[in-house]
């Protein structure tokens, strides 16, 4: 190992000490998964290591964040595309379970009244279990879209940009996810 490489390693190590925690927290806020956030930060530093010659700026933190940002976008796009094929094929069948051909509610799926139960929901341990069960039943692509909606400070148009999808695609996914989640809760909680 020559001296130049050793210097680079030292520099990278000092950046790790200074910035890795913040980078991780940022990646975690967007992916809500510690392991994925860790992988993305590792990828970021590996990429920085190899691209160090092209780093001319005075602000390593901003540079690392810009690499991480691209890694996160790649991650979502890849994840999104991988499952997109399935969701597309399911689309027609999927709508058929809730709506008739004329797009009116299927009688058995019509939302009834939940009103009597609303107040107790948030503190109810059993309800939370059912909620998590129902969340897990969603195709991963749908729950990715949902989690982004609730966790991101970024608004709809920005999320679509991150995912590389159209706005119409985004709300259609949310529609299907909510429809399925609502029906699952209906069956396992409100009617149970």
């Amino acid at each position: 190992m020559n001296d130049q490489t050793t210097d680079k390693r030292k520099l990278l190590n000092s950046w790790i000490v200074e910035h890795a925690s913040q980078l991780h927290a940022w990646a975690f806020r967007r992916t809500s998964n510690q392991n994925i956030a860790e992988d993305l930060v590792q990828d970021t530093f590996v990429a920085a290591f190899h691209a160090l010659n092209s780093f001319e700026g005075k602000n390593p933190k901003a540079w690392l964040f810009s690499i991480l940002k691209h890694k996160i976008m790649d991650y979502f796009r890849q994840k999104y595309k991988m499952q997109y094929v399935d969701a597309g094929n399911q689309q027609d069948d999927y709508l058929g379970q809730f709506f008739n051909k004329d797009q009116s509610w299927n009688e058995a799926q019509k939302p009834g009244d939940w009103l009597a139960h609303e107040e107790e929901l948030l503190d109810n341990e059993q309800f939370r279990k059912v909620l998590y069960f129902c969340m897990e039943q969603l195709p991963e692509q749908w729950s990715v879209a949902m989690k982004l909606k609730y966790l991101q400070e970024r608004k709809g148009p920005a999320i679509c940009e991150d995912l590389g999808i159209s706005q119409a695609n985004f709300w259609q996914i949310l529609h299907r996810a909510k429809m399925q989640l609502r029906a699952c809760l209906d069956k396992n909680w409100f009617e149970a």
Binding site: S21, R29, S32, F49, W114, K149, K178, R182, L185
Partner: protein, 95 residues
Amino acid sequence: MKKIMNTLMLSCYKATELIEKKSVFILSPVEKAQLYLHTRVCDACRNYQKQSKLLDEVLEQELKALHEENISEDQNTENQRIDRLKGKLDSEKFS
């Protein structure tokens, strides 16, 4: 009657889609009017709208709480992660 309703107004499918669209984007004035008219006369979609909003609140709180829980990890976990990161970088050959 159902057929007339569907031509004059949104279908239930479209109405519920707009309800979800509204939670992330701004509806156009026409869409707002269509949704308003539809939910005035359709009990099922009115229920859906109420429940959809309720689920938004519950999920937002729940996911944020889960997130906070995960983020407040101990120093030890963080140090281990940084060690793994350094190890990963050490194993990288400079090209």
